[in-house]
Symmetry: C3
Amino acid sequence: MIDLQRDGDVFVLRFDAGENRFSPDFLGAAEGALDTVAKNDGPGALVTVGTGKFYSNGLDLDWLGANQDRFEEYLGRVHGLYARLLSLPMPTVAALNGHAFAGGGMLALAHDFAVMRTDRGYFCLPEVDLGMTFTPGMSALIQARLPKRTAHEAMITGRRYTAEQAVAAGIVQRTAEEAEVLPAAVEWAASLAGKNGGTVGKIRTDLYGPALAALTGPAFG
Amino acid sequence: MIDLQRDGDVFVLRFDAGENRFSPDFLGAAEGALDTVAKNDGPGALVTVGTGKFYSNGLDLDWLGANQDRFEEYLGRVHGLYARLLSLPMPTVAALNGHAFAGGGMLALAHDFAVMRTDRGYFCLPEVDLGMTFTPGMSALIQARLPKRTAHEAMITGRRYTAEQAVAAGIVQRTAEEAEVLPAAVEWAASLAGKNGGTVGKIRTDLYGPALAALTGPAFG
Amino acid sequence: MIDLQRDGDVFVLRFDAGENRFSPDFLGAAEGALDTVAKNDGPGALVTVGTGKFYSNGLDLDWLGANQDRFEEYLGRVHGLYARLLSLPMPTVAALNGHAFAGGGMLALAHDFAVMRTDRGYFCLPEVDLGMTFTPGMSALIQARLPKRTAHEAMITGRRYTAEQAVAAGIVQRTAEEAEVLPAAVEWAASLAGKNGGTVGKIRTDLYGPALAALTGPAFG
């Protein structure tokens, strides 16, 4: 479901569960992998990547439908995943091999940088078209990471951004062809792996203090 | 003074009072029209547009000069107009047929998107050259809607932006020739009219919570 | 060490102390010059500029190493310099003749606008590579002045931006060849010198209220 490998100084965390929706098992595996990564000493950086045409489609709506009484607890755990990435003591790069939708798009935003595949796949926050709104934590994350006009358009219209459009809108920083997405992300991460992890974590945690507070507070605000 | 018509799913609210300054009568008519619009059920979107060379020049300084004791009450009503647009339960597009100055520029910013006329007309916050400052509500609206560097330049220098400059600065999203401004805005609004109004309103209200709080609080902070 | 001259309506404050690090003497001279400038009546604008290949390299780490017990007091004084520029009752333009690093880069950000030399010199926040973090005041200043994605990249990676890269990233607004940096800044400042200083100061102080509060509060938060 989740595979953690090391390529030089770079941890590569591959999500390999179809649409990579956040099932409880997926979340548990991701949390465990980030526990391992966070213990790193010395140079290090993290790349996350999906498989096939999905980076991640976000919340596991099937599981949620069958477990509605656990919605708040579940959202708290998703928020926690974002918060862990935002406070991870090393640089992070998302390799967007495919769709990053809804909670999966927010997962991408929780990384320092992102490389997005050019020929296929969208970044999209489709909540408005699903009749859903954003939790205070998710809203804080999106607003902390996206230019104001982009956050507005993405949240109000549910626009699907191609890689080129996502660069223009300030959502991702780089694009690459399918085969080059992961290598480009790993190369970028490797170039940053020499940064002192503790310093990176402290600067990032300070920078996103309000978003982290929203993500670690009550899920429904 | 104000004319509300419906073009398919799109409400078109035309301001037709010369410079379209916010006289008490103008505000009353706008409030009434937005009351009608807000009651819409089913698909819907709003376009506002002015007439001739003015979208709106903002505060009615003549009326204010004769009613200085009502300044705070008056500003509260102007703030309320912005707040109603920010929380309107449907997508909104401003068709900037001409000048959008001062409070009229802020009115444009209270819409989801704006289309601006290319050959004539400026977006301008001239307060600095009038010896005026911005109320906390106005400042919050401007800062919530404009890129930081643009808010700074617009507020500190009173720069007049042409349509092309306004796109580059992130003030408006699209430009059109005079005859195409309203059709382009209506077409854009129609493309968004299928969004669930309640969801759009909730997402936008959450997104601009701090600005809405400033706009609905005491006018002088 | 610091030379204050007047060129028409424009005050030109030249830093002439090598790397222009903020020694206590440098800070005292800058504070005195800004006292003089702030007393201006009538048209006025401020340009600051360094000498040779340095605009300013920021904190005086040598002095700090010898006076570690005065770190908080010292930082408070540096914060105060930024706060004075942010609240100065006239337009301000930084002429970046050379490197603007760390606290020197933040000094540039405390101006309304900046012109940067094209062939040599970087804007850089190298704190992450020095194992340093940002004080709440510095972080608030950077976040208030830079686009979100730029603040992130600059603070997390310590990237060195050339003039062209700094324009693209929204750090500075204009570039010029070495000999033209100061004249361009003076010309720009002169074009803004007619603004009412009190109004400019009030608008800017309102606009950066939270950053000013962070800069004038306890240095370590």
